[in-house]
Amino acid sequence: MPLDTSLVRKQFKVIGTRVRRPDGIDKVTGRAKYGADAFAPGQLIGLVLRSPHAHARIKKIDISKAEKLQGVKAVITAADLPDLTGGDRGMRDILENCMARSKALYDGHAVAAVAAVDAHTAKQALKLIKIDYEVLPHVTDVDEALKPGAPLIHDDIFTDGIEPKPTKPSNFCKLAEYGHGDVEAGFKEADFVIEKSYKTEQTHQGYIEPHACLANVSPDGVAELWVTTQGPFVYRNHCAALLGLDANKLRVTASEIGGGFGGKTHVWAEPLALALSRKANRPVKLTMTRDEVFRATGPTSSASIDVKVGVKKDGTVTAAFAELRYQNGAFPFTWAEFGAMTAFACYDFKNVKTVSRDAVVNRPKCAAYRAPSAPIAAFAVESTMDMAAKAIGMDPIDFRIKNAAREGTKSSYGPVFGPIGIGPTLEAAKKHAHWNAPLGENQGRGMACGFWFNFGGQTCVDLNVTPDGSVTVALGTIDVGGSRASMALAVAEELGVAYEQVRCVVADTSSLGHNDMTDGSRGTFSSSMAAVDAARKAIHTMRERAAKIWEIPLDEVEWIDGQAKAVGEKHGNKAPLSIKEIAAQAANTGGPIAGHSEIVADGAGVSFATHICDAEVDPETGRTSIKRYTVIQDAGKAMHPSYVEGQYQGGAAQGIGWALNEEYIYGKDGRLQNAGFLDYRIPVCSDLPFIDTQILEIPNPNHPYGVRGVGETSIVPPLGAIGNAISNAAGVRLNHVPMSPPRVLKAIKDAR
């Protein structure tokens, strides 16, 4: 019986309450076990040797001295990781990113690894590995990488999206276009045409917990991996494929996770830990330093964008165009294309066109970062939209309301929108007390909108009723934002029992079918759908058991308020049966009671947000302080409002850091200059105001409780909102993110 995903519940008993999270005590007392907290008897310490060069041919690696050092149990290079990817370019790139093969492609690229009895010995061994490099010219800037004659990073990239396909390799990996109408004709209709170019620097997700794992491979090919990850099943599949293991013999257990935001959707050093363990025949623990996290995991792209918007005096946008150039790091992907898809998605434009150019550079392989690519595009578009509103003297919210996408709008990325929520977030912003509050000296207010797709995916949940009538739920999506509490709420709501009667755990990969990762704002959306399905199946089983106990037909048993009730005049004297009473008789009515669900949770529905920001700019130093910040976003239905608010606030906080301070700084030698939190400054509490939130609840018709994913969209508007606030505070338009004090001060001085 397939799950009915259509919206069926509008009144709730426990959904929407702010219950305590089940992992709270462990986390505040230090009992929770993260990636680095696992130990195994006889474990070794794994360390990775990384390239000091941005681009270099590896002529020779001599590991003989390292192997002879007492206490060293294994040394590996690319030779220990043969290419088993069978021509799959994506998997081959993952393999090559885990361990350089013929060339080191960026500063920090792994070139060898050791496992030794302790960290000191492992460090000594790294020093004994001798590598003969031929240093090659490098390029780290996206615009430079796209120029003819730029240092060539791969000789097998021929630009996709150009016909005929080029015969000469280049760093330009993909060209894509989106849009509709005739933008040139549209610009001719405009009273004002606003054009501006923007740059955004590379940022890291900045999760507090570095990557860490404990790998244990037995000689019979059975392996275990304890790891911090957003997707244990994907890690299992990728590691097994790269190492030639059978997936069923590699059991991956996800630890608690200290943040991921997209950065823990890829394997980085985990295959190396497994390869070391296999070679050493001992467990290997591998924990990255913060320096390694910055240099050798997956930050988001840096980018360069040109935007052009034509507008009439009445506020109608006649045409909009953007060219977006994103670097993907050292391996080809399509991050610019996603920017092109999202750039103008908030708006209903008759003539709109985006062109994306994706490039490879000598930087680490880019990974998803919370609504990947969208914040960068939104900064450029929302800044230009603000300039357009100013040009015609229109309130920026009214200007956006006039041009907002709505049901029936042909989106800038192609399809026609169904019911969407950008309009309500803008209307709520206009009515919000923040929008009309007074401002102080050197302060300015800005606002911006944001869009993200959201998605669902493969999801599996196992629900078991214990003999005492309490309920356990095994989830396949890891809990990064409180999802165990939300899933317990869903099961409690469906069964009609107290929240405290349900306990959720995150299962390992041997306990459930495949689950996609906790990404794409899908964790709560997808797993709650599966949890509802599993609970409904368990209810069906419990009705069957009650029917057996009462010796009456199944259709005379209903499930009401957490109990089986016999319905009909002849059953009036039967007392209802609780879950506890049904569970107590399970052995004699058919055995254990369970509900299992395997679904593909499609229909997540696109997501929109509007943010308001007050910034104060010190005209003497250029330092920007955020004085007040408000997030308005549609959650469909907030299952646990505190966690929805947490997602809104977390996205805004990361966006504020991205907007004001965070950036990868490369030297002329192509080496990262600021690989640590002292020099790469993420916001701390004292940098942030209380971030106010307003949850709109416009039910998603494709979820039984109306839920939408909320994890990503909140990072999309901050860059634009803060840029607009700075513009109003200091009278200067910043076009380069981060809008750090030196850049703001220079803009102020240039304007004087």
Partner: protein, 90 residues
């Protein structure tokens, strides 16, 4: 939505830019199919290179609702069908 396979309708299937060169540059192509699975099978059969794209990941927007995995999903008569890249998340 799941389908019985005898309900094929003729659709104007819109393509994102990367797929257009495979069909001679057209922005959309007529295709009779009852489900996403049938649509993908026919696209693979008729247009060389399409199968590789589908293996890498193609999402289908049906009247604005985006499907990534559920290939049994019905393509209703008169629905707007739009093929899109499969977007990752963070």
């Amino acid at each position: 939505m799941t389908a019985s396979l005898d309900t094929s309708h003729l659709h104007d299937v819109h393509l994102w830019g990367a797929l257009r060169p495979l069909v001679g540059g057209a922005t959309s192509i007529p295709m009779r199919a009852a489900t996403i699975r049938e649509l993908f099978r026919k696209l693979s059969d008729e247009y060389p290179g399409m199968e590789a794209h589908i293996k890498r990941g193609v999402a289908v927007s049906i009247d604005g609702k985006i499907y990534r995995d559920q290939w049994d999903t019905v393509l209703p008569a008169g629905a707007e069908i739009y093929l899109m890249p499969r977007v990752p998340g963070g």
